[in-house]
Symmetry: C2
Subunit: 451 residues, 2 copies
């Protein structure tokens, strides 16, 4: 028979078993962490009507979307989790309670140019709080706490959630009489970290057409830095001249005020006036998150406040605030950086039961008992040489091997070998289960990420 060469599409992550175990831990940690903050899990279809997904349309979305016909239906794969959320809330609004807090962790699809570290199928892990008509600013202070808690549970330490407020930016540009150019200015200022202040000044003058004085004003404003309290103090100098600015500053103050109560240390949080995010969606607080030792990676978790989630589908005004982790890319980066803790157990089993008798009854019973005690147990069934069996356990990194020869069967015991230390003991199944449990607990004490 002619063979078809097996292959996985470029841009589609497919992990080997050991890293997949780490990815599962990653996703499970996020699920637990999001649930702890009382977000309810949702799972919407990966396929939606193209009309629904492209309601907003335009730009990269139309180019990148996977769109196709099935019968008469014009369908597409979701490219984010926000549009399906908008549809869900518009469709089910009458059955939901507001504020509606949901998390969703799922795959999304974007047919981008394939390149290293860029994925066409990738997990996003989103949380959003949706209000009915209004939504209190305190929710905007809570979002960084969810992210701080999630990353901390994963074991990530050197990260910083950066926050800005779009009302401050819009107000500031209005103050300068540059409201009509604010979009272009924000896109340009977004490059500050990359090009530096001198080049930025030049770009603002030549590309955006600002005066030297205006550019200087913008650079001065973007240069505001220091502790959160210091930044807020410097911003106060601009107060009283623009209503939007003042409102944004109040909001930012509130966000900063509640950080401590929500358990976010100051070192993991900073006001950064240069971030703006998407230009026509966010209306208040915006978030980005940097890995402090790898700023070159850009934001690993972004989001913000929006005033109208589902305007394409309903007249009901649904303001909200949300944030999203690009899980697949982040996992890829952590793996590349060697930050995944390989001390954690990535074997498929905790114990491999190796029968040394022809009849496997006692071995099957032993496996059944260990499983009943919550220990992941594999019964090795194949007729192989002893060495091959041990090498199987070894290659998979299975922590314990349990031998069952005639002596063990006669005594109703097993010989349990700790593969790391080489120690072997003749134990009852209950004793063995306890020994395995203790060792597993010790190994699982570490977090998924190092540093």
């Amino acid at each position: 028979m002619n063979k078809i060469t097996p292959r996985t599409l470029s841009g589609f992550m497919e992990l080997l078993p050991a890293p997949q175990q780490q990815m599962e831990r990653f996703l499970q940690t996020l699920r637990e962490s999001y649930a702890l903050y009382a977000f309810t899990p949702l799972d919407t279809p990966l396929v939606e009507s193209a009309e629904i997904l492209l309601a907003k349309g335009g730009g990269d979305t139309e180019k990148q979307i996977y769109r196709f016909q099935k019968g008469d239906a014009d369908l597409a794969l979701r490219f984010d989790l926000t549009v399906p959320l908008a549809k869900y809330v518009a469709l089910h609004a009458g059955e939901l309670c507001f504020p509606f807090r949901r998390f969703q962790i799922g795959k999304v699809y974007r047919g981008e140019r394939a390149q290293r570290g860029r994925f066409r199928e990738f997990y996003q892990a989103d949380i959003d709080v949706i209000g009915d008509g209004k939504l209190d600013i305190v929710n905007e202070a809570e979002i960084p706490a969810v992210i701080y808690s999630s990353f901390t549970r994963l074991g990530l330490k050197r990260f910083q959630i950066q926050v800005n407020n779009r009302k401050i930016l819009n107000g500031f540009y209005e103050l300068l009489g540059l409201a009509d150019k604010s979009g272009e200015i924000m896109r340009t200022v977004d490059k500050l970290d990359k090009v530096g202040p001198d080049k930025l000044r030049q770009m603002l003058v030549s590309n955006v057409g600002l005066s030297e004085a205006q550019s200087d004003e913008i650079l001065k404003f973007m240069g505001i830095s220091g502790s959160n309290a210091e930044v807020l103090e410097q911003l106060a100098a601009y107060q009283g001249k623009n209503e939007g600015f003042d409102l944004g500053l109040e909001e930012l103050k509130t966000v900063v005020k509640y950080l401590d109560a929500f358990g976010v240390p100051e070192e993991n949080f900073a006001i950064n006036l240069t971030i703006a995010r998407g230009l026509d969606y966010y209306t208040g607080t915006v978030y980005e998150t940097l890995m402090l030792d790898h700023p070159e990676i850009g934001s690993i978790c972004s989001g913000g406040r929006y005033d109208n989630l589902a305007g394409y589908y309903t007249d009901r005004r649904l303001p909200g605030v949300g944030i999203s982790i690009g899980v697949t890319r982040l996992f890829y980066i952590l793996q590349e950086q060697g930050m995944l803790n390989d001390g954690l157990n990535t074997a498929p089993a905790d114990v491999l039961v190796l029968p040394m008798t022809e009849d496997l009854t006692a071995a099957a019973q032993a496996a059944t008992l260990l499983r009943g005690r919550g220990i992941r147990t594999q019964l090795y069934t194949e007729q192989k040489k002893f060495k091959a069996k041990m090498s199987y356990a070894d290659k998979l990194g299975i922590p314990f091997v349990a031998f069952l020869g005639e002596d063990e069967v006669a005594q109703g015991k097993i010989s349990l070998k700790n593969m790391a230390t080489g120690e072997q003991s003749l134990l009852s199944l209950e004793e063995a289960a306890e020994m395995v449990r203790a060792e597993l607990n010790a190994r699982e004490a570490g977090s998924l990420l190092l540093g």
Copy 2:
């Protein structure tokens, strides 16, 4: 703005938050149960090259598959988890250890005619054990144990895993000189439960063209029943005339022999000679699973032994055995039958913190502390009347409400109200956390399914 009517595609399950919580429990139980049996989780792409997915091609697959172009690529959505597994194992064989045991729980896509209870996007939950060259029969005895354990953990009681062996069927039809008609006969016999023996005899004669004597022989064979031991004894009468039959009978005996050691009670397991499954894929043991009170639903979990997983992609012979739960359909049925235990907590939060002061600092601190103790906590942030706030907790079924007024803040305590009993107590946060934990443990003692 013109609105687009929000809708979800027909045949695509989209659950409201409370049933989604139950679905999450369902999936998590399967993950844990499969892992306990030392299957390693895999997560392959939902999109693959159409050439890969359609390597076998033909029949319903080609008609039902979602296939589309993106640029030059001819792509499709996976329609099961077996073909992606075959590709995965063929592609990564050099990096895997055999026997390779994997589970995968993921969505698959089939553009079937939409009808009630049929889904175009649905979860499958598969386990497979793949050998390199050979695979011991004991694995075929272990598969029912995994399913028994999974369903029992879910709380399902009245189910029966039914087993047959294709070698027995093939051998028996060879004995009758009907080897060339065996496919057609099996398809016809599959209808026995529906049409009854008399109608079946008629069909075998008129439709398949068998003699009356041959039909009678088949009906006699298919009528073999009783306990597993009784069935095996009756099958022994056919022994010694056909090598395949004898081998199949030995395999079936071995499967039955190890059931008890693997912890499967006899009442949840039965030999059923009428089941055959897919005609050209399975080669040995085959499984179906019935809900005893709802046989009309058909099999909720099926699979079997196959000799060559990945013959379309590699010359390496990879025999295996696997089984698959059609999760979405099963969940739908359980929901329809009222079998989901609604005593379990489906609220997004365990505690709703209701601040009664303008400043939310103390309330945010209380929420943070409860979360730190593993209690899913929501801080209610909106300016609403007291009644509206309580109604929010009530509608969502949140078990506890924690009030924080000035008195409570001054004392560093909260007033914790059990929403089910109406009892309210002034407690320290530590005491409150303990009370909530105890109540949650009591509620979570039940299983997901009733009966």
